[in-house]
Amino acid sequence: MGDFWLPEAASTIAPEVDSLFLFVTAVSAILLVGVTGAMLYFVYRYRRQSPGERPAPVEESKLLEISWIVIPTILVLLVFNWGFKSYVKMHAVPSEAYEIRVQAQQWNFLFEYPNGVTSDTLYVPEGEKVKMRMSSADVLHGFFIPAFRVKYDILPNRYTSVWFEATKEGDYDLFCTEYCGRNHSEMDKVVRVVSQDEFDNWLEEAGTSEDIPLPELGKQLYSQRGCQGCHSLDGSEMVGPSFQGLYGRTDHEMSDGTTLTVDENYLRESILKPEARIVAGYNNLMPGSYSSLSERQLTGLIEFIKEQSDKEPPASDQGQTTATN
């Protein structure tokens, strides 16, 4: 019955939740069959034989009425107690848990490890207790890993957390479960459970090296920080303007009717203060959280955007381009 209902179980809490789920399902099924069976039997057994039929009144039975109050009460108190205990376990974060920061924003998750490594795939070591400390840059989001049976909302004004201990290596889904707008259904990530050794290696290698070329860094940031959720590279229409052919445009029209040339300083302003100027035909939806990018990251991202265009650099950037390299 478990396979019919539930997804793969890959955390220490999952078997507990599953047995409770299956217990309630089984008891419900038995009671449902009982109630429906009795109903159908009565409907057949006491079907109207003649139009003038007048059945004798049935004496009410105190014993029967009390029993169908008391027995369900005992049953629900039993499942309440059971559910309450495992819920408390879910919320008592072990103090030794390894902490990963989750930064959620429309429509992306970014995971940050204690050594500063950031990743858009959630790598976790098997057999270690992991705590996710979560916050949102904009609206409410939800953090849900079905295989781990954990879920919690992510709020913009405070930290929330979940913890789990993965028990099986493999790739699992991570979904956003609090409705957050247009691409809510595409706000998903991969959770990759690996052995402790593999995890340590990955963590070491994934560290952004200082000498990575700027456009490479920009490319990494593009996918990690959720730019790809709103800005395409192939010119297709999304929530925000596409990066294709953006840099160097001389007729970039704003919502107030003015046009401008897309140069480095325009890009810089658009990343740091997206609300300052809105492109015609788009809404002011970009979160302000990108102002926390470091100088190097910002430049990397701009270099990456510049690579997406084969237009000539505008005059305003001539003479500065050498300075940034």
């Binding site: 019919f4 209902w5 997804p7 939740v17 409770l20 309630v24 399902t25 419900s28 009671l31 449902l32 109630v35 429906t36 009795a38 009565f42 409907v43 006491y46 079907r47 109207r48 139009p51 003038g52 039929e53 007048r54 059945p55 004798a56 049935v58 009410e60 009425e65 169908w68 109050i69 369900p72 009460t73 629900v76 499942v79 309440f80 309450f84 495992s86 819920y87 408390v88 376990k89 904009d138 609206v139 409410l140 939800g142 849900f144 879920k151 709020l155 913009p156 004004n157 979904f175 479960t177 609090e178 409705y179 957050c180 707008g181 247009r182 691409n183 809510h184 259904s185 595409e186 939806l285």
Partner: protein, 577 residues
């Protein structure tokens, strides 16, 4: 007391011509738009709500069509988000909440207690106009760019999106008053306008259901109104209430929202319980088993319903201790609902069960509502809810309660009272076919969703992972069957208005006043003479003995034994003097 002698002597001024009824005594459009007759207001609401249900139902079919494949099949994410939001908002605020009280409550309740009308007929008409104002604002919201927040308007997202949100929240604020008016009217009507002899223990259970519902409507609806006003104030004046960037708290919004919206679940389901009791009693010709238990459990549910809102927030940032307390109280509310189901099944025992269409809906309800209840117990289990929260399991659970419960009961009630409302019989064979299609289609639509949710499919997703495809397609196929069933009902209902067989005054052999003492098509004032109530609402075993009518004697064209009418109450001298 000399009323007895006066009784025969006084001429009766409100005696109408033979053949005059509430539909034909005035026929102009203005007579409808300005009517203070509770029956006509019920009909006005019926037509309006049928249109809303049709629109919101078509949106549901559109959603299911989009979900027939994992990627984008026929509309962009934005469009899908608007469609599911409008489906939810219209179904909950503009259809389910007003539905049974406004249509059947208005039509039936005064007749069931032996009254000429509700206590405040003008307020009753005002309720319909206020509702229309709310519906107009909803249309404005659509013209202004639509709403893509879901029916829950969770902040801060609802603050950042679309131009329609303010219109929509205003619409809900305004439409809420329509419900408050109806609730207030019913409470006063039930307290003050019962016919002589209609004691509280003789009230039909539909009236008890409406009474419990009205209390919740009057007490809870202002909270959603205030919440909507706060949303509007925050948006317009930039006062920080719910928006963290202004110093507000989004979890506070959820508390306010569910403080209304959980009781609203009972506003939607308690009237359905009332209809169920009427159907089960009439079509099994027996007294309701545990009349008091059913009547009082409705009131208990209405009260406890105010104390469980936090079970919508087990994973939303509410404290662990609150969650535990809310979970415990949630179980307490499950018990009275269980009692009702057991009582209804026990009523069938040794009855004389007549499987007409309304009864088939009642039996469907027992099955579907039970699943809704059991899945409700499931999502009340704290640690299991963590897994199931915001998945299709929840979607399926509340559709089993709201659609499998409230809508199925409403359909049963509409069939049951159709002859009284229209004076015509619907086609029984088509009725049974449609009821069967609706039952099968409903389960085919929503049972796969339970499995989807348990497997981890989140709700409000325009697109989804490939592995969910088959179950989604099954669900979409089911929605087609369900749609065919519902359109069939619409079809034969319209057909019966003109071509249906003329209905007798009491086609079901029911024992409540609207059947025993009211003409086939009710008189504008319901009763020619105010009835005197001398027995309980379902005392089929007493009906003939008390009022004559020998053994084996039958009337009605189907040879149905019909309970005799209650005698007329003695006239009060003051009323006609």
């Amino acid at each position: 007391m000399s009323t007895d002698t006066q009784n025969t002597a006084v001429a009766q001024p409100d005696e109408h011509e033979e053949g005059e009824n509430y539909l034909n005594h005035e026929t102009s459009v203005w007579s409808w738009l300005s009517t203070k007759d509770h029956k006509r207001i019920g009909v006005l609401y019926c037509v309006t709500l049928a249109l809303v249900f049709l629109a919101a139902g078509v949106l549901a079919l559109v959603m299911r069509a989009e979900l027939s494949g994992p990627g984008e099949t026929m509309m962009a994410n934005d469009t899908y988000n608007q469609v599911f939001s409008m489906h939810g908002i219209m179904m909950v605020f503009l259809f389910l909440v007003p539905s049974i009280p406004a249509i059947l409550g208005n039509f039936v309740l005064p007749m069931q207690i032996g009254a000429k009308d509700v206590a405040f007929p003008r307020l009753n008409l005002a309720s319909w106009y206020v509702y229309l104002a709310g519906a107009t604002l909803t249309i404005m919201a659509l013209l202004w760019g639509g709403v893509d927040t879901g029916w829950t308007f969770y902040t801060p997202y609802s603050k950042t999106t679309g131009g329609g949100v303010l219109w929509m929240t205003s619409a809900i604020f305004v439409a809420g008053f329509a419900n408050i008016f109806t609730g207030l009217n019913f409470i006063v009507t039930i307290h003050k306008m019962r016919a002589p002899g209609m004691t509280w223990n003789r009230l039909p259970l539909f009236v008890w259901g409406m009474y419990a519902t009205s209390i919740v409507q009057v007490l809870a609806t202002p909270v959603i109104g205030i919440t909507m006003v706060l949303l509007i104030l925050e948006q317009v004046l930039q006062i920080g209430i719910f928006d963290p960037s202004l110093g507000g708290d989004p979890v506070l919004f959820q508390h306010f929202f569910w403080f209304y919206s959980h009781p609203a679940v009972y506003i939607m389901i308690l009237p359905a319980f009332g209809i169920m009791s009427e159907l089960i009693a009439t079509f099994s010709r027996s007294r309701i088993f545990g009349y008091r238990a059913i009547a009082l459990s409705s009131v208990a549910i209405a009260m406890l319903g105010f104390l469980v809102w936090g079970h919508h927030m087990f994973v939303s940032g509410q404290s662990v201790v609150s969650s535990i307390v809310f979970s415990l109280i949630t179980y307490l509310i499950g018990i009275p609902s269980g009692i009702k189901v057991f009582n209804w099944v026990a009523t069938l025992y040794k009855g004389s069960i007549w499987l007409q269409t309304p009864m088939i809906y009642a039996l469907s309800f027992l099955f579907l509502f039970s699943i809704g209840g059991f899945t409700g117990i499931m999502v009340g289990v704290l640690s299991v809810d963590v897994h199931l929260h915001d998945t299709y399991y929840i979607v399926s659970h509340f559709h089993y309660v709201m659609m499998g419960g409230t809508v199925v009961a409403l359909l049963g009630g509409m069939h049951y009272w159709w002859p009284k409302i229209t004076g015509r019989m619907y086609n029984e064979t088509l009725g049974k076919i449609a009821a069967f299609l609706i039952f099968v289609g409903f389960n085919l639509t929503f049972f796969p969703q339970l499995v989807l949710g348990a497997k981890g499919m989140p709700r409000r997703y325009a697109t989804y992972a490939d592995r969910f495809t088959e179950l989604h397609q099954l669900s979409t196929a089911g929605s087609g069957v369900l749609g065919v069933g519902l359109f069939l009902v619409l079809g034969y209902a319209l057909w019966s208005l003109k071509y249906g067989e003329k209905a007798p005054a009491n086609p079901w052999g029911a024992a409540t006043l609207e059947w025993t003492n009211v003409a086939a098509l009710p008189d504008p004032h319901n009763f020619k003479r105010t009835p005197l109530i001398t027995r309980g609402p379902y005392d089929f075993h007493l009906a003939d003995e008390v009022f004559g009518g020998g053994d084996g004697e039958a009337d009605g064209d189907q040879g149905l034994r019909v309970p005799d009418a209650a005698p007329a109450a003695p006239l009060e001298p003051s009323r006609d003097a």
